[in-house]
């Protein structure tokens, strides 16, 4: 009787320790997916190492989605679309899908407004990055964090 609270405390302590120990490898061991390093290299392949400034781009995506299989997304660039000064392309990247690219959109002065919408798949809660390339060669970006309840892409075919 005297022993039992003590042993219970020790058991809880051990259990807590075991949970903490098992949590650490879960963080370190990542599947072969688009880690921030592959995200960075995918961005570099578009920008060629040029400086990417924050601003001009607006990335509209719900902050919390239930189903990662279809997530509406809109990218708007607050920039004129004149023949001599326009948005040349919009590139969208992700952090944790199996591939870092989501889509590339090539625009021109014919578009009038630099805005595109589509629906994307997200395999995990992660950060989305949209980068716009202007005709003067500068790059502008916006990021958005999305929490996904049901992941896409990797589930089994039934």
């Amino acid at each position: 009787m005297q022993q039992s609270p003590h042993s219970r405390r020790r058991f809880l302590g051990l259990a807590g320790g075991a949970a903490a120990a098992s949590a650490i490898p879960m963080v370190i061991v990542r599947p072969a997916d688009a880690t921030p390093a592959t995200l960075a290299s995918a961005i570099r392949s578009v920008t060629g190492g040029a400086v990417v400034q924050t601003g001009k781009v607006k990335l509209d995506i719900p902050p919390l989605v239930e189903n990662g299989n279809t997530v509406p997304m809109t990218v708007t660039v607050a920039h004129p679309m004149a023949a001599e000064d326009h948005v040349r392309s919009i590139h969208v990247f992700n952090e944790k899908n199996p591939q870092p690219n989501i889509a590339n959109f090539q625009l021109g002065p014919h578009n009038g407004r630099a805005q595109v919408s589509t629906r994307v798949r997200l395999a995990d809660s992660q950060r989305i990055v949209a980068i716009a390339k202007l005709s003067d060669g500068t790059f502008w970006s916006a990021t958005a964090d999305v929490i996904v309840t049901l992941a896409a892409c990797t589930e089994d075919v039934i």
């Binding site: 992700n94 199996p98 889509a103 014919h110 578009n111 805005q115 595109v116 589509t118 629906r119 990797t154």
Partner: protein
């Protein structure tokens, strides 16, 4: 069978910016899924979407497996003359579909 849905306003004033909405029915199989027996399901996606207005390319998109099934893409176009928008989707396993929509500019 693949089929496209296009939404382009039938009429516009000269110089208007019109919104163009496109939807193409396609499975967009990512290539990252497995069957219950463990076999990988081969990738089958649309890789490219192009829009031309009276023969001039005005919009192009490169798509990746991260695009949801039945790719829905909307964008804008400035219209200065009446004409025809032509849309083309191409993808894996020789997938190729086209659609068109006309607009009258007053």
């Amino acid at each position: 069978m693949a089929s496209a849905l296009i939404n382009v306003p039938p009429k516009a004033k000269r110089g208007d910016i019109v919104e163009i909405k496109t939807l193409m029915s396609h499975i967009m199989e990512t290539g990252y899924r497995h069957t219950t027996t463990g076999e990988a399901v081969p990738r089958d996606i649309i890789t490219s979407f192009t829009c031309r207005f009276n023969g001039t390319e005005i919009f192009r998109a490169d798509l990746f497996p991260a695009i949801a099934a039945n790719p829905f893409i909307t964008f804008f176009a400035t219209v200065s003359e009446s004409g025809k928008f032509e849309f083309e989707w191409t993808g894996d396993h020789g997938f190729s579909e086209t659609a068109s929509a006309s607009i009258t500019v007053e």
